[in-house]
Every structure is written in C-alpha cells, then in structure tokens.
Symmetry: C2
C-alpha cells in the first residue's frame, strides 16, 4: 500500500515545525513554498536596520530538511485547490495529498488605503527589509547633500506607523542608528538631530502587552530619542509626509521622507481559495475559522495553522499571529496525523500554552512577560537574546548572529549598512 501523503503549504514557523515533527512518521511529506528559505521573521527589522545580513536570518529549506529522508521540498506557488481530487494546484503542475496542511501565513494590510503602499514601506519579506535599509541610509545621505534646512529636516524625519513589537523594535533600532552608529559618519549633518516618530492608534505602545511593560518600553524609546504618538489615527500618507488625527478630531501634519508601515496584516490570499473551494468561513483579517483540532469544518483532511488560522481561546479571543502559536499548532497537527494513522478515533483539541511576550527596544533594553512575571531592562534583553538565538534554525547561523550581536553591543557598529539593489544607483 502506498504511504500516506502529507502536503504542507508554507515553510514558515508553522509549516516547518510540522514537517520536522513528522520526521519519524510513516508518511511521505512534501513541503511546498514559493521561496527556497525559511525566514526568521522576528529579526527582519534587524536586516532593515543594517545589523544583520539576509543570509543570517534565513535558512535554505532544503538544507534544514536535507537529512529528513521522508520529506521533499518543492519550490512552487499554490494558486488553487481541488478538494474532490485531493490535489493542490501550482502554477506549473499539481501535488496530490491525503492530508493537506495550509500554513500560508499573512501579508500586509492597508485598511482600504492601498495607495499608501507606495509611500509607506512594509516589512514582511527580505526584499522589503533591504528596501527599508536602503531608504533609511539614503535619507541620511540625501540630508548630507541638502543645503535647504527645511528639506534637510524632512530627510531626517522618520515615521514608523504602528507600535506593536515590530514597530517598537524598529523605532528603537532607528534611535540607535541616529544616536550611536552614524554619530561620526557625516560632516554637514548631525545624525542625532534626526526625528523618529512612532505613531499608534491605541492608547499606548505595545497595546497587547501588560500596561506596566508598555510604560517601561515607552520610557526606553524616549531615552533613545524616539517620540511615541499614541492615540492618534493615521488619515493620510503621501510622498511628503503623514497626516494624523488626534482624539479630538484635530489633524496634524508631519512632513517626512521616510515612512515605515508595521500597522497591519491580513491573512494570505490562500484563505480565499479555501473559502471558494472548500467552504471555509473567513473571519476578521481574512483568517480561516478552524475546528478545535485545527482542521477545516467539513474537511478533516485539511488543516489550517499559523497566521492564516482563526482559532479562539476559552475566552473567545482569537490567538495572536505570532511564531509561538504557529509552532505549537504545527507540532499539534503532526501529532494529530500520527494518531489518526494509528486509527485513533479521538484525540484532545488543540490548546495554546502562552509562554509569554518579548520585545527589544535597544541595546540592553527589552520588556518581557513570562507567565505572570514582568521583566524589563538588561535581564529582559538577555532573555530575548537567548530565546531568539535558540530558535534560529541552523547552528552556523546561530553562532554568527551571536558574534555579530556581540560586536554590535561592544562597538555600536552595524556592518551590513549597504545600499544595494537597483535603487542604490538612483536618486529617490
């Protein structure tokens, strides 16, 4: 009898952890991804700010899985699904499955303002991270060349929209770049004069964190020269700046040449394919509602995990779109598959074990919630460092990143400050 075929769509945290947990299962696994690498997304902002190189936060999927003999990697883009024939349709072929795990992730959302995309840089992919790096470094270069003081001030104004973990970490890193890294690099401008604005619609930074940690994070940001603007709504973004609306409906305009967007995500468009072909119900943000065992209602052979899945906890709140959730769901589904193959009729539903939250603001400054414990400062930063290094997939990457961070910590230097790509040779 042919072996049970498991097809996993997406090599992010959910998909990859699921595949790895199937290592010793008696199944044939195919991992389909349109990129040839697993990306350690939580450190993407470090590529955007020139601390790390793309190769250091990404691992080739083939290399991670090369010794896992029951698994093949397929570079391809899924564009449709045929649940009746149990086939995943790619642009150039199809892959038959017995069990399908959809871990297609999330993408940026502009909340109905798609025109903002051309002015506010998103941060979801390696390419977007290097583009942001280019924009930040180029802004300092342009300011150095500019003679008009007002135009120069606009080049030296950076606006980060969204004060979730990514926005906070990015704004903190920008503060360090301006105040430490580039301090001696220019002759006409003073990089410490750069203005870094962090705009957030909620009433505090890190709104998903406990309030005392938000306060600590805000204080750390201010020490780094970042100005948090909370409780303000972005109502306009164009090439010359950002317009916000305060709680009292007064609007304010901030001229700026560099705007970075970390404010919203929505689920992958594969959710719509699941809705069309397999009657999936889409919830807020385009996420796919799943059964207690993470399968698609009416399709026990299809699982949806990670950022794409909408799964409510006991209190009815959807789980957040973070790596932790995706990884636990990946492991759970691999267990579910193994139990089913052993003809287990019943197995317990998925339960999320919240291990806590971590965000880093700068050199030796972070905030952490571990269960009911709240930490900040150097100790939280050490925990952050340890947790992130341990999760980096490949050993060589892990050590390299460690060496790099050691240097960054000692020297304030950022080795990967390169302006590359087609834009590197053009005026903006």
């Amino acid at each position: 009898m042919a072996r049970h075929r498991v097809v996993v769509l997406g090599g992010g945290f959910g998909g990859l952890y699921c595949v790895q947990a199937l290592r010793h299962a008696d199944v044939d696994v195919t991992l389909v991804d349109k990129r040839n690498f697993h990306l350690f997304q939580p450190l993407l902002y470090q590529v955007a700010t020139g601390s790390l190189s793309p190769g250091e936060i990404a691992s080739p999927l083939r290399s991670v899985l090369s010794r896992q003999r029951n698994t093949r990697v397929l570079l391809g883009e899924a564009v449709d699904l045929d649940p009746a024939r149990k086939a995943l349709i790619l642009t150039d072929g199809e892959v038959p499955y017995d069990t399908l795990i959809v871990a297609a992730g999330a993408r940026d959302a502009w909340f109905g303002h798609d025109d903002w995309e051309q002015h506010a840089a998103p941060l979801k992919t390696i390419e977007e991270a290097t583009r942001i790096r280019h924009r930040i470094l180029f802004a300092f270069e342009a300011a150095e060349r500019e003679h008009d003081p007002e135009a120069r001030r606009h080049w030296l104004t950076f606006i980060v929209v969204g004060a979730g973990p990514t926005g906070v970490e990015l704004a903190g890193a920008l503060g360090e770049i301006a105040n430490d890294t580039l301090k001696h690099d220019f002759r006409s401008i003073d990089p410490t004069q750069a203005r870094i604005l962090l705009v957030e619609g909620a009433s505090r930074v890190l709104p998903s964190y406990p309030e005392d940690l938000s306060k600590k994070a805000e204080a750390s940001l201010i020490r780094l020269g970042v100005r948090p603007y909370v409780g303000v709504k972005v109502v306009g973004i164009d090439e010359s700046g950002v317009t916000v609306e305060h709680g009292d409906h007064q609007t304010e305009r901030f001229p700026a040449r560099t705007v970075i967007w970390t404010a919203g995500v929505r689920a992958s468009e594969f959710g719509e394919i699941l809705a069309k072909r397999a009657d999936a119900k889409l919830e807020k943000g385009g996420r796919v509602a799943v059964s207690p065992d993470l399968s698609l209602p009416g399709h026990p052979e299809i699982f949806v995990i990670g950022d794409l899945a909408y799964y409510a906890d006991a209190q009815g709140r959807p789980l957040p779109g973070v790596a932790q959730v995706a990884m636990q769901q990946g492991s759970y589904v691999s267990r579910a598959i193994r139990l089913r193959l052993r003809s287990a009729q019943k197995y317990p539903p998925f339960r999320y074990h919240d291990r806590g939250d971590l965000a880093v603001i700068g050199r030796a400054a972070a905030v952490a919630r571990i269960g009911r414990l709240h930490l900040s400062g150097f100790l939280a930063w050490l925990i952050w460092l340890f947790v992130h290094l341990m999760y980096l997939v490949e050993f060589s990457n892990r050590l390299l990143v460690f060496v790099q961070w050691g240097f960054l910590y000692l020297t304030f230097n950022r080795g990967a400050r390169l302006i590359t790509g087609a834009e590197g040779r053009e005026k903006p």
Copy 2:
C-alpha cells in the same frame, strides 16, 4: 590660506588606500563614489556561490572613514570634468579640487558581442553576484521539477567563460556545491551529476600564472568535477547554450541554461571623459596612459590609478588590473601629494612590487606564487586565507568571515543559499 583640496573618485582598493594614507596630511579630502560601500571584489565569487553574504565582503565607506576628520564621503556619480576650473561634475552638483585622483575602476567587456550580456551573467557588482547565486540555485530547483531527461541535463549544465582567477575560483566553488553542499538536498536529481565546463581561449587555465601552477590548478579542478576546455574560443552565446570553436576551426555546441561570464573587463567610462576633457590617451581596454608618477600627461594635478590606469613596467608590459597594483598606486599618490605640498621638485617614479599571485580552487586547494616560490595545495590555501582575511577592511567583518569559512570547511554547508530579488518569485 585654504587647505589643499584632494578629491578622490572611486572607493575601491586604489581610492580607499589613497584616502587612508592621507589621514595625517594637511589636506581636505573628499571621496566621491556612486555606491556607499567599499567592495572586497576578490571574494565576490563567494557571494555568487552562497558562502558569504553581501554585508560580509563590503564595508560602508562612511564607517571605514568615520574617524578620519580631514575626510568627507560624498555619495554621487561623476559625469564630467572641467580641468580649467578644476571641478568634478556630478549629476547633481560639482566638487572643486586642487588635486584629483581618478580611481574609477573597470567594468565588464563583451568584445563586440553586447547581445551576450543578456545570456551570460557577469560578476562585477554585489547585485550581479546575488543574481548569479539565484541562477545557480534556481537551476537545481528547476532540474528537480523537470521530467524530461534532456531538459534536466541542460538545467544541470553550468558554463563558466574565462579561466582567469575569478573563473577558476567560481568553477571550483560550483564543483563543491554540486558534489558536497547540495548532495543530500534533492530527491529527484543527483546534484553530483551536474556538468561544470570552464571555457578558456588561452592554452591553459590561469594563463597569467606560471605553467606548473596552471597544471596543479587544472588537476584540482578536475578532482572537483570541473571540465576545463582550454584553447577554445567562444563564438556564440544564447539562451540555450554556448558555441565554441576549437583550434582546428571545428565548432561545438554545449546546451546549458546557466552561463557565467568572467572573460573580460574594460576600463571605466570615465576614461573617455578624461580623453575628451583632458587629452588623455586611451590604450588597450580603454585604460588611460599615465606618466611615470601616475599623473595625466599635461595635467600634473590629475592622477589616474588602479584598473583605469595603463602603466607599463620596465619590460613594457602593462601592470595587471588587480587589487595589489591599485593599493600600491594609491599609497604612492598619497606620498606624491605630501611631497609636492612640501615643495619637493622631484620624487621617484612609481615602482610596482609584485608580491605574487594567489588563486583558490576549493576546500584546502589553492595555488600561489610568492616571488619565485610556487606553492599549491593546503599550504597555498592557508596563505590565501590569511592574506584575504588580513585585507578585509573592518575588524568585525574579518572575524565573521573567518567563522563562516571555518564552518564551511567543517560542514560543507553554505548558509547564504537564498534565492532573493524579484526573480525569486518567478520562473526564469
């Protein structure tokens, strides 16, 4: 009295070494470059073959020079020269000089076959290196998906045109990728079946090296599965392969989907501007003929150094376009400027001290000529490693590269095997 203004065009080996040697001189230095980083070109092939990340072989010019207080860095592109007014013209402004040092380097040459450029990938810039990396990795991915044996063989055929040091090093690294790095990564193809052809017009690989070292290099290449074709002339390159002509005028066709071009360079187009504006005489490959002190005949205030300069040694042979020559010329010119400022009427002409040649073929295999000493194998490889690490400009880069190479040596792994860029999501 205003200080003497030295303007250096180009932050490659010649320009950067000249600027650094002027550190304590009583002059104002401006370094103009269109890129914001110094590139360690001899290791570019390692980026192309996924061993190193771009950030590891490039250092931001501002960072290298940040403590040198008499020096500013200007990101800009030089498009013209006005020797009468002593001004270098940029796309967006001009820079006045008292002494100008032109170190604008070289670019690819296609010997009148500009249509080959779209099929044979050149290797001069960071962007070209990542594009080659993409093409190599994608070829293996495409072969894995391909069912037709002949089409698959074409995907698995790689042709490197030109067996100078870059071509030899690239072909050797390709051999290692196919035989070691990717060995376990695929399920349908066997990467060790890849064919790597190294095509050279001269009668041996490394034609500028002593004959015994060429033989050694050839043997090492063959051990890595590379097939050297010497004494054959490329007469055609298109999307489906390469046509060569043998010594007996018989032609042969090699179908291949990946062709890499390392066969020719010509001097920067700034040479033509020097010819038009300052009566420079252009020699073979567009290089600018210079006086014994490296100044432009008739323009003692303009120096030309590095790959752009045509300078013949005592035997009338032009110096090669290598880093060693550029660095020595940069130091020489900085001395000449300091002597002139002290009103020295005379100073000795430039003399090149040939320290030798080094090329690496693979893991623990290299050839070296040091004066009259010829070395090969592990010892030559150790010398190569040491020399290259010592020259990498920034300390943090140096250590990181060392760690990476250590891992590569121990594990055969290549961490930076990412397919990025717009092409990453498309079929070729």
